[in-house]
């Protein structure tokens, strides 16, 4: 699990099947389902632990490294 600060949480709603696993196991409770699709409620609070990515069966939520200048 990445502890890096230069990563940010991304979602891919097209792949999300709305199972709710990431929502249930997010330690800071910043994820929710809206119409069966994943939403981040408060990105600032994300601790970038990567648990959502690790347990998402559909690869629909992940930490992406932020490249310089972006």
């Amino acid at each position: 699990m990445s502890k890096k600060k230069n990563v940010s949480l991304k979602t891919n709603q097209a792949w999300c099947k709305g199972c709710g696993i990431c929502v249930a196991f997010c330690p800071v409770k910043i994820l929710e389902l809206k119409k069966d699709k994943i939403h981040i409620t408060d990105k600032e609070k994300c601790i970038k632990c990567g648990l959502c990515e690790l347990r998402c069966p559909d690869f629909a939520i992940y930490l992406e490294e932020e490249e310089n200048g972006q």
Binding site: W15, G20, P57, F59, Y62, E65
Partner: protein
């Protein structure tokens, strides 16, 4: 714009995703773990070969960007044995399900283990035949329901890890999709073992097994995996009554023994490497 992590982009056929598995199916978590283990070990993609049989789990290779082979029900290990012996330079991985690996393919599982052929087998165990709609499998617990066990399953379960160990596998581990990071580590260690390796990945099937047996939704089934399992090392320090009824996860076997292809090649070399 990216739609998935680097791990996914590097190891999957992006135009094949999203996969066909149901919402909350744990198989995607194991598939991701396999990709991560391969990436961690830095294998050359061209030399990795992923082979499956039939069932939900067996759709995994189609998504993965390697040499991939989706074979007949239960026979993945037999095909894999041919591929591996014909070209031992290939890193051969078999993905299978509980029905595929231990019912129709049970014979191939024990014999591949007996040979100690260098194949890593990942068994996605969801305790049910999912692709055909929820029939009981050799790992459906006694008493549980399936569409072909409408009054409760009277069969007993296979302990896949003990089966693999008894048959001669030189690496055996069990993990769960809840304990995804440990499972990934198990897969990595299995890949590192030069010999026959079995990783039982306990998955969840909310659609058939879960619904039929009132196990709750996907997050609840995940939670259940946390509550009903114990790590082998933790269990060793606990009194027996606290271990009773828990499913033990962790590494059970990790040993070095002569590998089939290497042994066979010693014979070939005798004839072909004369000065």
């Amino acid at each position: 714009m990216a739609v998935a992590s680097k791990l996914i982009e590097n190891n999957f056929r992006m135009n094949r995703l999203p996969h066909i598995w149901c919402p909350g199916c744990g198989h995607g978590i194991i598939m991701r773990g396999i990709a991560e283990a391969i990436e961690n070990l830095g294998y050359d993609k061209e030399k990795v070969c992923i082979i499956s049989g039939i069932g939900c789990s067996s759709r995994a290779p189609g998504y993965m960007d390697f040499n991939t082979l989706h074979t007949t029900h239960g026979r993945a290990l037999a095909f894999a044995t041919g591929v591996k012996l014909a070209n031992p330079d290939l890193k051969v991985i078999v993905v299978s399900g509980d029905g595929d690996a231990t019912a129709i393919g049970g014979n191939h599982l024990i014999h591949a283990a007996r040979r100690n052929i260098d194949i890593t087998t990942i068994i996605f165990n969801n305790n049910i035949y999912g692709m055909t709609g929820g029939q009981y499998s050799p790992t459906t617990p006694h008493g549980d329901l399936g569409t072909t066990a409408p009054y409760g399953n009277v069969d007993n379960v296979f302990d896949i890890c003990r089966l693999a160990e008894g048959a001669g596998a030189t690496y055996v581990a069990r993990g769960t999709v809840y304990h995804a990071k440990q499972l990934e580590k198990n897969i990595e260690n299995a890949l590192k073992n030069k010999g026959f390796s079995v990783v039982e990945g306990i998955s969840i099937c909310p659609t058939y097994y879960g619904r039929k047996n009132r196990k709750g939704n996907a997050p609840e089934m995940m939670m259940n995996l946390k509550d009903t399992t114990l790590d082998k090392k933790v269990a060793a320090k606990l009194p027996q009554e606290k271990v009773e009824g828990k499913l033990i996860i962790g590494e059970f076997v990790n040993k070095s023994q002569p590998e089939f292809c290497e042994e066979y090649h010693k014979i070939v070399d005798k004839f072909t490497k004369e000065d």
